[in-house]
Protein backbone atom coordinates (compact mmCIF):
# COMPACT_ATOMS: atom_id res chain seq x y z
CA UNK A 1 0.00 0.00 0.00
CA UNK A 2 1.20 3.46 -0.87
CA UNK A 3 1.27 5.61 2.27
CA UNK A 4 1.45 9.41 2.01
CA UNK A 5 1.35 12.18 4.60
CA UNK A 6 -0.99 15.09 3.80
CA UNK A 7 -1.94 18.25 5.68
CA UNK A 8 -5.50 19.59 5.83
CA UNK A 9 -6.29 21.27 2.52
CA UNK A 10 -3.82 19.13 0.60
CA UNK A 11 -4.93 16.42 -1.76
CA UNK A 12 -4.14 13.44 -3.91
CA UNK A 13 -4.90 12.89 -7.58
CA UNK A 14 -5.56 9.34 -8.79
CA UNK A 15 -5.39 8.82 -12.52
CA UNK A 16 -6.79 11.74 -14.46
CA UNK A 17 -10.29 11.81 -13.04
CA UNK A 18 -10.22 11.27 -9.26
CA UNK A 19 -9.24 13.95 -6.77
CA UNK A 20 -9.21 13.41 -3.02
CA UNK A 21 -8.85 16.35 -0.65
CA UNK A 22 -8.19 16.08 3.10
CA UNK A 23 -10.41 18.78 4.54
CA UNK A 24 -9.90 18.61 8.29
CA UNK A 25 -9.57 16.36 11.28
CA UNK A 26 -12.62 16.35 13.47
CA UNK A 27 -12.28 14.58 16.79
CA UNK A 28 -11.13 11.07 15.95
CA UNK A 29 -12.34 11.40 12.36
CA UNK A 30 -10.91 12.84 9.18
CA UNK A 31 -13.15 14.65 6.68
CA UNK A 32 -12.35 13.80 3.11
CA UNK A 33 -13.63 15.38 -0.10
CA UNK A 34 -13.81 13.26 -3.22
CA UNK A 35 -14.21 14.45 -6.79
CA UNK A 36 -14.82 11.64 -9.24
CA UNK A 37 -16.81 11.06 -12.43
CA UNK A 38 -20.54 10.57 -11.77
CA UNK A 39 -20.43 6.94 -12.97
CA UNK A 40 -17.86 5.94 -10.33
CA UNK A 41 -19.40 4.21 -7.33
CA UNK A 42 -18.05 5.38 -3.99
CA UNK A 43 -18.82 3.44 -0.80
CA UNK A 44 -17.76 3.62 2.79
CA UNK A 45 -15.55 0.54 3.20
CA UNK A 46 -17.59 -1.06 6.01
CA UNK A 47 -20.82 -0.71 4.03
CA UNK A 48 -19.26 -2.18 0.91
CA UNK A 49 -17.92 -5.08 3.00
CA UNK A 50 -21.32 -5.70 4.58
CA UNK A 51 -23.12 -5.81 1.21
CA UNK A 52 -20.39 -8.04 -0.18
CA UNK A 53 -20.77 -10.47 2.71
CA UNK A 54 -24.57 -10.41 2.47
CA UNK A 55 -24.44 -11.16 -1.28
CA UNK A 56 -22.04 -14.05 -0.63
CA UNK A 57 -24.35 -15.51 1.98
CA UNK A 58 -27.39 -14.96 -0.23
CA UNK A 59 -25.80 -17.11 -2.95
CA UNK A 60 -25.57 -20.09 -0.56
CA UNK A 61 -29.17 -21.34 -0.65
CA UNK A 62 -30.43 -24.61 -2.02
CA UNK A 63 -33.50 -25.64 -3.99
CA UNK A 64 -35.08 -27.47 -1.05
CA UNK A 65 -35.04 -24.22 0.96
CA UNK A 66 -36.73 -22.34 -1.86
CA UNK A 67 -39.39 -25.03 -2.27
CA UNK A 68 -40.10 -25.13 1.42
CA UNK A 69 -40.28 -21.34 1.77
CA UNK A 70 -42.46 -20.94 -1.28
CA UNK A 71 -44.88 -23.58 0.00
CA UNK A 72 -45.03 -21.85 3.37
CA UNK A 73 -45.72 -18.49 1.73
CA UNK A 74 -48.33 -19.79 -0.70
CA UNK A 75 -50.09 -21.54 2.17
CA UNK A 76 -50.09 -18.34 4.21
CA UNK A 77 -51.56 -16.32 1.35
CA UNK A 78 -54.34 -18.77 0.68
CA UNK A 79 -55.47 -18.80 4.32
Amino acid sequence: MLVLTRKPGEGIVIGDDIKITFIETKGAGIRIGIEAPADKKIYRQEIYDRICLENREASQWNLADLDMLTSAMVKKESL
Binding site: D39, Y43, I51, S59, D67, M68, L69
Partner: protein, 140 residues
Amino acid sequence: MKKTIMTRFGEVEFDPNDTVRFVEGLVGFENLRDFIVMPNKKNGPLFWIQSVEDPEIAFVLTDPTNFFLDYKVIPNDRERSKLGIEKDDECHALAVVTVPADRKVTLNLMAPILFAPATNRAIQVVLENSQYKTRHPLPA
Protein backbone atom coordinates in the same frame (compact mmCIF):
# COMPACT_ATOMS: atom_id res chain seq x y z
CA MET B 1 -30.64 -20.21 -30.49
CA LYS B 2 -31.06 -21.83 -27.08
CA LYS B 3 -28.07 -22.63 -24.92
CA THR B 4 -27.68 -24.94 -21.95
CA ILE B 5 -25.44 -24.66 -18.92
CA MET B 6 -24.87 -27.07 -16.05
CA THR B 7 -25.64 -25.39 -12.72
CA ARG B 8 -25.57 -26.73 -9.19
CA PHE B 9 -29.33 -27.23 -9.59
CA GLY B 10 -28.97 -29.27 -12.77
CA GLU B 11 -29.06 -28.45 -16.45
CA VAL B 12 -30.67 -25.14 -17.39
CA GLU B 13 -31.75 -24.25 -20.90
CA PHE B 14 -32.01 -20.57 -21.75
CA ASP B 15 -32.27 -18.10 -24.59
CA PRO B 16 -29.20 -15.79 -24.51
CA ASN B 17 -31.43 -12.94 -25.73
CA ASP B 18 -33.57 -13.23 -22.60
CA THR B 19 -30.87 -12.90 -19.97
CA VAL B 20 -30.76 -9.95 -17.61
CA ARG B 21 -27.56 -7.95 -17.87
CA PHE B 22 -26.08 -6.66 -14.62
CA VAL B 23 -24.00 -3.90 -16.18
CA GLU B 24 -21.79 -3.58 -13.08
CA GLY B 25 -22.29 -7.06 -11.63
CA LEU B 26 -23.43 -7.34 -8.01
CA VAL B 27 -21.35 -6.04 -5.11
CA GLY B 28 -18.58 -8.62 -4.62
CA PHE B 29 -19.54 -10.35 -7.90
CA GLU B 30 -18.53 -7.56 -10.27
CA ASN B 31 -17.38 -9.97 -12.97
CA LEU B 32 -20.71 -11.81 -13.27
CA ARG B 33 -22.83 -9.87 -15.73
CA ASP B 34 -25.43 -12.16 -17.29
CA PHE B 35 -28.16 -13.93 -15.35
CA ILE B 36 -31.02 -16.20 -16.34
CA VAL B 37 -34.34 -15.53 -14.65
CA MET B 38 -35.67 -18.85 -13.42
CA PRO B 39 -39.42 -19.21 -13.11
CA ASN B 40 -40.65 -20.53 -9.79
CA LYS B 41 -42.65 -23.69 -10.38
CA LYS B 42 -44.91 -22.96 -7.47
CA ASN B 43 -46.73 -19.67 -7.39
CA GLY B 44 -45.19 -17.45 -4.79
CA PRO B 45 -43.30 -14.24 -4.36
CA LEU B 46 -39.81 -15.77 -4.67
CA PHE B 47 -37.89 -16.42 -7.86
CA TRP B 48 -34.23 -16.94 -8.62
CA ILE B 49 -31.61 -15.75 -11.01
CA GLN B 50 -28.77 -17.98 -12.18
CA SER B 51 -25.40 -16.66 -13.33
CA VAL B 52 -24.55 -17.66 -16.90
CA GLU B 53 -20.83 -17.27 -16.22
CA ASP B 54 -20.57 -19.09 -12.90
CA PRO B 55 -22.77 -22.20 -12.45
CA GLU B 56 -22.25 -22.04 -8.67
CA ILE B 57 -23.82 -18.62 -8.26
CA ALA B 58 -27.56 -18.00 -8.03
CA PHE B 59 -29.63 -15.56 -6.01
CA VAL B 60 -33.18 -15.66 -4.73
CA LEU B 61 -35.04 -12.42 -5.36
CA THR B 62 -38.42 -11.02 -4.48
CA ASP B 63 -40.47 -7.90 -4.99
CA PRO B 64 -40.14 -6.39 -1.50
CA THR B 65 -43.49 -4.61 -1.76
CA ASN B 66 -45.02 -8.06 -1.19
CA PHE B 67 -43.84 -7.64 2.41
CA PHE B 68 -43.00 -3.95 2.85
CA LEU B 69 -45.80 -2.02 1.16
CA ASP B 70 -44.17 1.40 1.10
CA TYR B 71 -40.72 0.30 -0.08
CA LYS B 72 -39.76 2.36 -3.08
CA VAL B 73 -36.45 3.12 -4.77
CA ILE B 74 -36.20 5.72 -7.50
CA PRO B 75 -33.07 5.56 -9.65
CA ASN B 76 -30.92 8.69 -9.85
CA ASP B 77 -29.31 10.04 -13.02
CA ARG B 78 -26.24 7.80 -12.76
CA GLU B 79 -28.39 4.74 -12.20
CA ARG B 80 -30.80 5.54 -15.04
CA SER B 81 -27.91 6.00 -17.41
CA LYS B 82 -26.47 2.59 -16.38
CA LEU B 83 -29.90 1.05 -16.92
CA GLY B 84 -30.28 2.83 -20.25
CA ILE B 85 -33.64 4.36 -19.38
CA GLU B 86 -35.23 7.80 -19.20
CA LYS B 87 -36.80 9.53 -16.24
CA ASP B 88 -40.31 8.12 -16.59
CA ASP B 89 -39.41 4.63 -17.76
CA GLU B 90 -40.45 1.61 -15.77
CA CYS B 91 -37.96 0.45 -13.13
CA HIS B 92 -38.55 -2.17 -10.44
CA ALA B 93 -36.73 -2.50 -7.14
CA LEU B 94 -36.10 -6.13 -6.15
CA ALA B 95 -34.57 -7.44 -2.95
CA VAL B 96 -31.97 -10.19 -2.57
CA VAL B 97 -33.27 -12.87 -0.21
CA THR B 98 -30.96 -14.59 2.27
CA VAL B 99 -31.91 -18.01 3.60
CA PRO B 100 -29.75 -18.62 6.68
CA ALA B 101 -29.29 -22.03 8.28
CA ASP B 102 -32.18 -21.38 10.68
CA ARG B 103 -34.42 -20.68 7.62
CA LYS B 104 -35.44 -17.31 9.04
CA VAL B 105 -35.50 -15.50 5.75
CA THR B 106 -34.24 -11.93 5.49
CA LEU B 107 -34.42 -9.34 2.72
CA ASN B 108 -31.55 -7.04 1.86
CA LEU B 109 -33.42 -3.75 1.63
CA MET B 110 -30.21 -1.74 1.92
CA ALA B 111 -28.84 -2.97 -1.40
CA PRO B 112 -31.78 -3.53 -3.76
CA ILE B 113 -31.54 -4.51 -7.39
CA LEU B 114 -32.99 -2.06 -9.86
CA PHE B 115 -34.35 -3.74 -12.97
CA ALA B 116 -35.42 -1.97 -16.14
CA PRO B 117 -37.71 -4.19 -18.26
CA ALA B 118 -37.28 -1.98 -21.35
CA THR B 119 -33.55 -2.71 -21.60
CA ASN B 120 -33.34 -5.94 -19.56
CA ARG B 121 -30.59 -4.33 -17.53
CA ALA B 122 -30.12 -4.40 -13.78
CA ILE B 123 -27.81 -2.86 -11.21
CA GLN B 124 -27.41 -3.28 -7.47
CA VAL B 125 -27.55 0.01 -5.59
CA VAL B 126 -26.66 0.78 -1.99
CA LEU B 127 -28.99 3.00 0.05
CA GLU B 128 -26.36 4.30 2.44
CA ASN B 129 -28.35 6.98 4.20
CA SER B 130 -31.57 5.13 4.82
CA GLN B 131 -33.11 3.25 7.70
CA TYR B 132 -32.89 0.03 5.66
CA LYS B 133 -30.61 -2.79 6.70
CA THR B 134 -29.06 -5.73 4.89
CA ARG B 135 -31.15 -8.18 6.93
CA HIS B 136 -34.80 -7.33 7.30
CA PRO B 137 -36.78 -10.25 8.71
CA LEU B 138 -40.10 -10.86 6.96
CA PRO B 139 -42.99 -9.29 8.84
CA ALA B 140 -44.80 -11.89 10.92
